[in-house]
Amino acid sequence: MENISKEKQIEMLKKIIEIRMFEEKTVQLYQQSKIWGYLHPYIGEEAVAVGICSALNKDDYIISTHRGHGHSIAKGADLGKMMAELFGKVTGYCKGRGGSMHIADTELGMLGANGIVGGGVPISVGAGLSCKMEGKSKVVVCFFGDGAANNGVFHESVNISAIFKLPVIYVCENNMYAISMSSRESVAGNNIAGRANSYGILGYKVDGSKVFEVYETAVKAVEHARKGNGPSLIEAQTYRFFGHHPNDPASYRDKAEVEKERKERDCVINTKEALLKAKIIKQDEIDTIEKEIEKMIDHAVDFAEKSQEPDLKKFLTEVTS
């Protein structure tokens, strides 16, 4: 934390709050039926996306998951375009065709959220090949969950990235559950970072609620990749504060566990406290930040509400083949 500039620290806090407040808003809108389909909130996991993406350049790539809002926002996504997409509006990132699970943007270097668990993981191989061929030291971050870590795509992709020394940072967000399946019961050996050994690459385990810890690890992994030394695997231990989606009461989880996690490992609270304690920020500055973000989100909602629905005729001529 000491090595990180104050501005950067504040920047990260801001992003964490931005994601948290965006997600809280989307859940609220979902319950009001303004958003429909599937919505997978990132609440509780914000420090992972922010810590990782803060170590990236604008032209680096990220590959996301079904729980992807945080990744997009951390990489710099426009909240209006995101919200408009969730509203199914033509001004959204995907012109209303994708919704929550398919947000993508070339300019952001965001190669797509994905409705298929692990679906983006093999794509990291191609993005990595491309970065390597281009020779401009770009890197790729590939996010995936503990559940995805048990899918065959993980193995194939990390193996190939390792043999070709591709500049890919595999970031496993181990939030301890894949819907109702606990990672303790689904990940044999219960050590995802340790799986890096299988491929002769570096593996890191970090507390995903500590944004600066995540960031510092990401910096190392990114540097390693930029230098042409190949992929690495970061397991960020985190927690999904609520259900898999807004309608999931998550009654399969132990209440005490949930409470403990929410109390002790809330990255919004903890990051604020850390910055306050280090006197990098004052409480009233935080208040101002929160107000500004609230305004941004209100604007985003307003933009989404006022945007046009996609034109059916145009859609039909564009998509049918």
Binding site: G98, G99, N114, I179
Partner: protein, 323 residues
């Protein structure tokens, strides 16, 4: 008769078969305490324990391999793939293993298993969670394909599928889990390969399956108001297919509309037309009409989504076109 919903009919079929035969077991993702993504299995973990309700990691290939290997060695697994879209990850196990083992080993082995899954659009969950991919399985020799539209059919056909000695791909539809219908308390089964005439009529035959049966019945209702009398033929199983019932209906009506929610190009609907061409060409007074999904990736926005799949209105329109 009592009425229960489609979802509970599935559960009843599983319970009866698991009670009857200790070799039947369930395997899939989130089928334990969670009871399955559509909750068709709620309570079954408590009832049968984790040895017979096997909750797995997100490993579609190993889930199906888990079913195939058990089937090869004397068990009767029911494997669940949460969305038919996810079969893309496991087609090798379904097609190159399950479907072929009996045939390529000259009956040395056989694979009595059910792959339960669900498809279809309508819930705003976009291109990777809304497909109707039955055509893939329909095309593969060695697979049976069952697509029931009512609680009665889903229960009777699931029981028969579990008892079948070959792999059955059992495809439900996400929009009908909560529809209710009469299901007797007494045990019954429905043979594979027997269509059901869901509504009798004399003017036009509407051939439809899965959720499209419900749309076809709505259309028939509406057309009846205008004095057009439709017969709705529900094949219930696509493989084996009851061609006879279809042909007999066409003999009577001389006109037929074939409905499928799937993308039109290369759909099962097209194949039905080819079959009609082979078996009922001479009875036709008009070309067969297809009513299918668009050749498009299903979008998120509800209006766009609805525009991609057939409805009562599109069926009504098609019927009128060939009258």
């Amino acid at each position: 008769m009592r009425e229960i919903d489609y979802r509970d009919a599935i559960k009843e079929a599983c319970i009866e078969e698991m009670d009857r035969d200790p070799k039947v077991f369930l395997i899939g993702e989130d089928i334990g305490v969670y009871g399955g993504a559509f909750r068709a299995y709620s309570g079954l973990l408590e009832k049968y324990g984790p040895e017979r309700v096997i909750n797995t990691p997100i490993s579609e290939q190993a889930i199906l391999g888990g079913a195939i290997g058990a089937a090869l060695t004397g068990y009767r697994p029911i494997a669940e793939i949460m969305f038919i879209d996810f079969c893309g990850l496991a087609m090798d196990q379904i097609v190159n293993q399950a479907a072929k083992i009996k045939y390529m080993t000259g009956d040395a082995l056989n694979v009595p298993m059910v792959l339960r899954t669900q498809g279809g659009a309508g819930r705003g969950i976009a291109a990777q969670h809304s497909q109707s991919l039955e055509a893939w399985f329909y095309h593969v020799p060695g697979l049976k394909v069952v697509m029931p539209s009512t609680p009665y059919d889903v229960k009777g056909l699931l029981k028969t599928s579990i008892r079948d000695n070959n792999p059955v791909v059992f495809i439900e539809h996400k929009m009908i889990y909560l529809t209710k219908g009469p299901v007797p308390e007494e045990e019954y089964t429905i043979p594979l390969g027997v269509a059901d005439i869901k509504r009798e009529g004399k003017d036009v035959t509407i051939f439809a399956y899965s959720n499209m049966v419900l749309k076809a019945l709505e259309a028939a209702e509406e057309l009846a108001k205008e004095g057009i009398d439709c017969e709705v033929v529900d094949p219930r199983t696509l493989v084996p297919l009851d061609v006879e019932t279809l042909v007999n209906s066409i003999k009577k009506t001389n006109k037929v509309v074939v409905v499928s929610e799937a993308a039109e190009r290369g759909s099962v609907a097209s194949d039905i037309i080819a079959i009609i061409n082979d078996s009922a060409f001479d009875y036709l007074d008009a070309p067969v009409k297809r009513v299918c999904g668009l050749n498009a990736a299903i979008p998120y926005n509800s209006k766009l989504e609805q525009a991609c799949i057939p409805h009562k209105e599109s069926i009504v329109e098609a019927v009128k076109l060939i009258l």
